[in-house]
Amino acid sequence: VSVESVESQIAEWRAYVATAPGVNGHDVDELEDHLRHQIAELSAVGLAPDEAFLVAVKRMGDLDALSREFAREHSGRLWKQLVLRGDDEPARAAGGWLEPLIFAVAAAVVVQVARLAAGFPDEEPNWLARNASLFVLPLLAASFARQRQLDTRRWVLTAAPFVLAALVVNLYPYETDSATEVLVALDLPVVLWFAVAYPYMGGTVQSHERRMDFVRFTGEWFIYYVLIALGGGVLMGLTAAILEPTGVDVERIAEWVLPSGAAGGVIVAAWLVEWKQRVVENMAPVLSMLFTPLFAVMLAGAAVVYAVTGLGGAFDRDLVSVFDALLLVVLGLVLYGISARDPSTSPDWMDRIQLVAVVSALALDVMVLGTMIARIGELGFTPNRTAALGLNLVLLVNLGGAAWLSARFLAGRSRLHRLERWQTTYLPVFAMWAATVVVILPPLFAFD
């Protein structure tokens, strides 16, 4: 038996192993090196090359089991192809397009019913804004609960936060034009998004790997949603341009199409992330690589400018919201950057840039907090100031920890794993603060 035939057998084996989910190129190199060692050793004790090959492959183990082990360790690599269920047994996401379509249509119908009941857009009752996320996200949670085949207990636990939220936001006696009501409308979607995390993670909230999967999911969902919104905008624009001359009332069409499209898009985007991931898989890391440096430059510049000029004069409520939005975007980029990063590589320039972004954001946050505390000392607490103060404190602790850990990581004194853990451990804090704003703040300020 010639050496070439063994070489071609190894090449075939290599190609076959490379198709296994969860196994990447480096792993195949490593496994091939192992296989060659084993063949060489077996040949040395007298086995024919092709026999040695067979024994070595047998010793390597069943490829399915091996692939599953790799998948379990590197869930980040294939989180989109495999969904790990509660018992940690990988199962392929059962994937027809019919079911998500039904959920999307249901969301569109629910939103439409609510719109008609409210008389929107002629009337703009506050309950509509307060409840907006409750029309869509329960359906998303239900679709995940179905896909993950949750048991009855987990279904109940999935439903509980939605029921509680619906009771709280509709039974609280808000004053007319109350600030707490606006805060609830802003924070409830955040709370409910975390509630979606529970069925998404298959009812396992402890696993830090699943939490990271949910962070990835959120990032990619956001990108898909923006793409869908852009496409929908183009479609609406062209529809308006075409129908305008015929005298059709385009506004009325938009009234019907926009809310339903926005609601259905939430489900469709989630479905796309789960099953049609190929495009975004390559695009999302590229986007975060592109925007992290740009945001780092912008934040560093802003931090320097504000450090020189001081925040005092320019500071008002709108600016606080802008700052908070900016800090949240940075946090999102950092989180997504970590989740998309290969944890096995050593620190590179992207990590340094990310640290610049985090430290600048931290500096801005400290300045905002200082001004805000001064203002509260002067004028007292209001719902808006309390909510903003809490959010900035929550962000300060997160960014501080992230800056500290990534500086240590860059100095080679800590592992990326610590940074990942910090972020995944911290996620519930965001959920808890948003829940506090929804549940505790309104009664605290007498629903004002």
């Binding site: 084993q38 096995s344 794993h417």
Partner: protein, 119 residues
């Protein structure tokens, strides 16, 4: 002796860490060392070593480096970190406790080994 698969799995991490404490190494050499140490009694499915090594790397117990030795193919070397050393020491204490407890009950007066020998 056939060694139960749960026991093989439980001992895998301390075994690999201990082997790496002897000096940096790579996959195949680690596996050979396991076979030599156990006289071939501990049977691993070769491939499964790698997900385990990657887990240790993720947890920061080992660092890795791709190198090409003078004669040979490019391969990944694993090296124990201080964290890994600390975990190894901890594991050692745990296993010492377990084995001394088992020895106490098996070798002591009226112990299982004595009973087996008499039988």
């Amino acid at each position: 002796v056939h060694i139960d698969k749960d026991l093989v799995a439980a001992s895998a991490t301390p075994l690999v860490l201990a082997i790496l404490a002897e000096g940096e190494s790579y996959g195949y050499a680690i596996l050979k060392r396991v076979r030599a140490l156990s006289g071939g009694e501990i049977e691993w499915t070769d491939g499964m070593l790698y997900p385990l090594l990657h887990r240790l790397r993720r947890l920061g117990y080992v660092t890795t480096e791709w190198r090409t030795p003078p004669e040979g193919r490019r391969r990944q070397y694993y090296k124990l970190t201080d964290d890994g050393l600390a975990v190894l020491a901890d594991q050692q204490r745990q296993w010492d406790t377990v084995t001394s407890a088992l020895n106490g009950v098996w070798r002591g007066p009226g112990g299982l080994l004595a009973a087996v020998r008499e039988a």
